[in-house]
């Protein structure tokens, strides 16, 4: 009897807890509802799990952009961001949820692999999508190996991975003062890192840049890089190319410093955010080169406003490049909708047709670049900017 009592108390308490939490969840709902005459923007991203940083950055920035645009009057938007936990399977179900909700325009997905899984559905159902950060070519091409069979209504706000890899190789080839022997440390179980690495190597070979060693790591050993750095040092590399995100890059910089190894470190847009990493000594990042479309330290009015709004919304967190891309996506959609005379009562199909026409002809200036253009395949043309970190801030490098 005593055990029965105990169990029933436990059950009752769990039920109460669950009920209380449900209530919180309900009231904490963050949908930017603004009347019925709003154009519904859908999207999915990893709001939970290890990649949640990126999904939440996109969600927060997109919400800021939607609030700003709605406050201006004119066209109204409503954002519905679903969780896909960086899993293609969940992205497909999230797509189902969004479709049931009556999504008219979409941010597609935040990450690449889920993006590749849902893009065929967007093409099939004729819903316009622009991904803020799904950078793999497989997001916009059905046949990514030959860069053919573009879906046509799925666009990208970020550069594609191959674009970054070849731009980095070109930059290093053109600036021989940085060094001549390149070592690469990349994450071989990561789509993004691997994609940039592959095109970098191909372009480096074409441009005569000598790659002396290629070192890899994966999720399970992303804590210690002494072996890889030792190999790079042995091979006499004076440039270390890091097509990786900033967390492992911070460890690499730290360990290289301890080893007394000081080559030129060269990163890509995933490196953005290293200066704001908690507990990281920014003096270690001195002299690091990176290609990035966005820098939170820029002093133009647009960036300053956005960074302040983001900090206010997210408790002082500095927005990264993902957030900036998402912010631009919403503004680009708004600009195209206004130009094409899209209204909230139009079908997704009709909006798609008009937006595709707009996106392939218009130019857009935002946080991550000015005078951006899209081709019919959905690729954006904007040139990656090379910056170098000096005294803890990004400094643009003149070509």
């Amino acid at each position: 009897m005593k055990r029965l009592f105990k169990t029933s108390v436990a059950v009752a308490m769990t039920v109460c807890m669950a009920a209380a939490l449900t209530a919180c969840g309900g009231s904490g709902s963050q949908q930017a509802s603004s009347g019925s005459a709003a154009i519904k923007i859908g999207g999915s991203g990893p709001l939970t799990g290890p990649a949640a940083v990126y999904g939440n950055a996109v969600k927060n920035a997109a919400e800021i952009a939607v609030e700003e645009i709605n406050a201006k009057g004119g066209l109204q938007f409503e954002l519905n961001m679903q969780d896909d936990a960086h899993d293609p399977e969940k992205a497909v179900t999230a797509y189902g949820v969004l479709k049931d909700d009556g999504m008219q325009v979409s941010l597609a997905t935040v990450t690449s692999a889920p993006g590749a899984a849902v893009s065929p559905s967007y093409a099939e159902d004729k819903i316009f999508a622009i991904t803020p950060s799904g950078s793999s070519p497989s997001v916009i091409y059905a046949d990514a190996d030959n860069m053919s069979g573009a879906y046509g209504n799925v666009f990208q706000m970020c550069f594609t991975d191959p674009n970054q890899g070849s731009a980095s190789a070109d930059y290093i080839a053109a600036h021989t003062d940085l060094g001549s022997k390149v070592a690469i440390i990349y994450k071989n179980d990561d789509n993004y890192s691997k994609g940039i690495h592959d095109t970098f190597v191909a372009e480096a070979a074409a441009k005569g840049v000598e790659v002396v060693t290629e070192q890899t790591f994966d999720d399970s050993n992303a804590q210690d890089f002494t072996v890889q750095l030792e190999k790079a040092k042995e091979a006499g590399a004076d440039i270390v190319f890091l097509p990786i995100y900033y967390d492992p890059a911070a460890i690499i910089l730290n360990q290289a410093n301890k080893m007394g190894y000081a080559p030129t470190f060269f990163g890509v847009d995933g490196m953005d955010g290293i200066l704001t990493l908690e507990g990281f000594d920014t003096s270690l990042a001195e002299g690091v080169y990176l290609l990035t479309p966005f820098s939170a330290d820029a002093t133009d009015e647009l960036t300053v406003n956005f960074v302040n709004a983001y900090k206010e919304k997210c408790g002082g967190e500095v927005p990264n490049q993902f957030a900036a891309d998402a912010y631009d996506c919403i503004y680009a959609i708004a600009q195209a909708c206004e130009a094409a005379g899209v209204t909230a009562d139009m079908s997704a199909d009709a909006i798609c047709e008009k937006l595709v026409e707009q996106f392939t002809t218009m130019t857009f200036s935002g946080l991550t670049g000015s005078e951006m253009k899209w081709n019919a395949n959905g690729e954006v043309t904007k040139s990656p900017k090379a910056v170098v970190i000096k005294d803890g801030v990004y400094v643009g490098v003149e070509d």
């Binding site: 769990t14 939490l21 797509y95 189902g96 949820v97 049931d100 046949d143 190996d145």
Partner: protein, 357 residues
Amino acid sequence: MNKISSILSRSQDKQKRGRVLSFAIVIIAYIIIEIMLKTGSLSSLFSSLLVPVTCYVVAAIGLNLNVGISGELNLGQAGFMSVGAFCAVCVSGILAGTVTAGIPRLIISMICGAALAAFFGFLIGIPVLKLQGDYLAIVTLAFGQIIKSVFMNAYIGIDSEGLHYSFVDSSFKLQPGGKMLLNGPMGATGTAKIANFTVGIVLIIIALLIVYNLMFSRSGRAIMAARDNRIAAESVGIPISRTKMLAFVVSAALAGAAGALYGLNYSTLVPNKFDFNTSILILVYVVLGGLGNMTGTIISTVILILLPELLRSLQDYRMLIYAVVLILIMLVTNNEQLKSKWKSLTGRKAKGGASNG
């Protein structure tokens, strides 16, 4: 003697009822869903879940055969799924030019996936099932990790000159028009989506037929005897490792077929999908459904896949609620008092039915 035979026949009746019940559930669910699909009353969310649910159900039925009937813990069911999935994606890609119709290609790919997974199960089983203890759990756990690493580093491409492969990097150059079937950590992209719900349901029915026929055959009784008392089973001449091998290989083959269906349902498939967490998830379906209880496995799989989707409106709290519900189910289903109450309720009902009839 009479008493024993009556008890036996009663338990057989009960087993028969359980068997009929699970087939009935699957077929009725299929009919209802098909009608909803035809009339267009099924939401996009649920129609996107149909095929993955059937895949997980088949994998869970296979695992239940191994864990529930054979009594050997397997922590690598997702590994067998990934073998089946990637094999099927490759086979489907290779056959794309010759077998253009979707369904035959799907079936051939699924058979290949199941066969390859069964082969791997056989290889693992040879040394491990000769041992006594939890070794299968340890080895299948390792297998899941190894197979993930293998697919992370596998590059297979096809072009006009034939197949190219590498386990180092994608250094080979494909002819124009060539296609990468597997691309290391990026997995398979641009797969033709040829899986459909009907094939999934047929697969569940085949899985149930195989498992039930095995369970109630001579080999099935041998498998259960080896589980319940190894020494007694050995003493009456049952070859322990061979009977356990049978259950393990069938389980792996079902996982392979499920994985094949899964792989051909999405245009992209990454090796990371089939990690340790997925194996544990399938094990959770089995344990909550009841060891050895196939009907329970089907129901728990469906509920546990639908639950997080139905809780989407709770936003940030949904995974928390999901966990709470899991704990609740475990508490309730393992509570002896509740169980005996339930038994007395259903028992009375059965008696009442008998007196009425």
